[in-house]
């Protein structure tokens, strides 16, 4: 293991794994519909990704004790994976809780210095009041006008928003300041799949990245997962009159109030958890 002595922020496992690459950033801590984790895992497996570096957590996370989930201690983990043949660098991490600006710059520092990154993608999810039978769309945010113009004809839906920034937006802004072009991808997911999985949205995202980066990705497994989930939700519609009616209303393009959303969330969650 080599330590980058210039700033001592990284554990470098492999030197210069890439010459010119695209960086794909996923956040574990706000992984709605498990889109980000599935995208990153799929790419690591399909493209033969290997761990190349870690961004050390000290100074970026509040260590006020140990967090545990499902009886397991959780440690912040920020890791780079390189897929040399595909020219892809993946970064998978919890979102920092301290010194975010330095953390985000450090991601790009590593990418530029060690892997020659030329563009950035961040993977997120946008829960919406849509039915699971609706074809998924990808909403997108760009940090350079030229990039936006280039993608106008593509299947990306430009987003308009004014409000609190997500870490991905902050990263996109930091990248723009450094002259690095980037896109935040926000695949739409039915809100009731946010606490579970949405294989169709994962497939949509991977399809886009596959075309854009000319990657050979076999997405058949996701078709199977999506089919299985569709069946489970159809069963729910048949078994549970109330949830069924709400799902039908979404399919008809109706909206649901907060109480109805909570009810549908709960019923879908219980059904999918039971089946899994």
């Amino acid at each position: 293991m080599v330590t980058d002595r210039s700033d001592d922020l990284f554990h470098i496992f492999k030197e210069q794994p890439l010459q010119s690459s695209s960086l794909i950033v996923c956040w574990k801590s706000s992984d709605l519909g498990r889109i980000a984790s599935q995208v990153v895992n799929y790419m690591i497996e399909s493209l033969g990704g290997e761990e190349v570096a870690e961004l050390k957590p000290a100074g970026f996370f509040t260590f006020e004790g140990a967090i545990f989930r499902d009886d397991i201690i959780q440690v912040p983990d920020s890791r780079f994976w390189a897929c040399p043949e595909a020219g892809v660098l993946l970064f998978n991490s919890e979102e920092p809780t301290l010194n975010n600006y330095k953390f985000l710059n450090s991601i790009l520092d590593y990418g530029e210095r060690h892997c020659g990154i030329k563009e950035l993608y961040t993977i997120n999810a946008a829960p919406s009041l849509v039915s699971h039978n609706t074809p998924r769309e990808i909403l997108a945010v760009f940090n350079q006008v030229e990039l936006l113009e280039r993608f106008e004809e593509e299947e990306l839906e430009p987003m308009t928003w004014e409000g609190p920034p997500a870490t991905s937006s902050y990263l996109l802004w930091v990248a723009a300041r450094r002259g690095l072009s980037g896109i935040s991808l926000w695949p739409e997911i039915p809100f009731y799949l946010a606490a579970h999985e949405d294989p169709l949205a994962v497939k949509k995202t991977l399809s886009f990245l596959g075309r854009r980066l000319q990657l050979d990705l076999d997405l058949e497994e996701l078709d199977e997962q999506a089919k299985c989930q569709q069946q489970q939700l159809s069963q729910l519609q048949e078994e549970n009159e109330q949830a069924g009616a709400l799902l039908q209303r979404l399919e008809d393009g109706d909206t649901l109030d907060e109480e109805e959303q909570m009810l549908l969330n709960r019923e879908v969650y219980l059904k999918l958890e039971k089946e899994s």
Binding site: L148, M159, E162, G163, P164, P165, W173
Partner: protein, 309 residues
């Protein structure tokens, strides 16, 4: 971590006025009003990203247009003699979960501000904030001073409506000036500058209210006017005070007679009696409810979601 200056004016014997948000935004409003009246020119800023997280993103038709951070800006006003430097911070550094600055970032920001002051030849720095006291909201707020030396205390006492903390008679002349408005004084003194904090009085029970207490800002503004020989125009502050007074009076009318009786003694007594525990409890419970009703009303008009994108 850097300070960016847009120009380098040659200032004559300048003094610096600083302020950050705090209780009732008393100091910030006073300093900012004076800055506005003098049409002070922007001099520079402390880059925000090492101190603050962005509050808002603006995305328009797919394009990330802007990320909004709290600003920490310097201004200057040339008068030919005793020029003025201003520093106003839109948020105190140290973390969004805390209102007041704390820790290393706060200290570093204070050092940055003092360095800019020194670079321009400043020998004295003023900060301004709130002094929570047993005053009455219908009484004109006094301005309470804490300084870095006895000599400065003597100098300041000649200004009307100004008292030192020990003259106020609360806390036995001891206490803490929380946040940046206090920390700046310590850093300035450590770096050999004269330091003055001018605090506008606010009644204890109003210290938690979420709106500006402009009546006290006006008192601070008047003292700044006297110190610098400036004709300050409090017109806007008067209008804002009237609006705030209306809200305060509407709660004051709800006071039970026994609470009102004790509280009203503050208008005349030289040494006011603190309200009893029972009455303080009544005030706390009812004020919370009153403030909640104000907040609810405000939220009704706000249809911005809070999901980060």
């Amino acid at each position: 971590m850097s300070v960016v200056m847009y120009r380098e004016p040659q200032l004559e014997n300048p003094e610096m006025l600083c302020s950050w948000p705090g209780i009732g935004n008393i100091g910030l409003i006073a300093v900012d009003t004076l800055r506005g009246q003098l049409k002070a020119r922007e001099l520079g800023q402390i880059e925000p990203w090492d101190y603050f997280e962005p509050h808002k993103v603006f995305i328009q038709k797919g394009m990330l247009e802007e990320l909004w951070f709290p600003r920490s800006r310097f201004f200057y006003h040339e008068r030919g003699e005793k020029d003025l430097l201003f520093f106003t911070g839109e948020e105190q550094p140290g973390g969004r979960e805390k209102v007041y600055a704390y820790g290393e970032k706060a200290y570093r920001m204070a050092e940055n501000v003092v360095e800019v002051a020194r670079k321009h030849g400043c020998r004295r720095i003023y900060t301004s904030g709130a002094c929570v006291s047993m005053t009455h909201h219908q009484v004109k707020p006094r301005v309470v001073a804490v300084t870095s030396s006895e000599k400065l205390n003597r100098e300041l006492k000649r200004y009307p409506n100004l008292v030192t903390m020990s003259e106020l008679g609360e806390g036995g002349g001891e206490g803490v000036i929380t946040g940046m408005n206090g920390l700046m004084l310590a850093v300035a003194k450590k770096k050999g500058l004269e330091a003055v904090c001018l605090m506008g009085e606010i009644p204890d029970w109003l210290a938690r209210v979420p709106f500006p207490y402009t009546k006290a800002s006006k008192s601070v503004l008047e003292v700044f006017g006297s110190i610098f020989g400036l004709d300050t125009r409090p017109g806007l502050l008067d209008r804002q005070s009237a609006e705030v007074d209306r809200v305060i009076e509407s709660f004051y009318e709800k006071f039970p007679e026994e609470v009102k009786e004790i509280y009203d003694q503050r208008k005349t007594e030289a040494k006011p009696v603190p309200i009893s525990e029972k009455e303080a409890e009544w005030m706390k419970e009812n004020l919370d409810e009153f403030l909640k009703s104000l907040t609810d009303e405000q939220e009704k008009g706000d249809d911005n979601g809070d999901r980060p994108i």
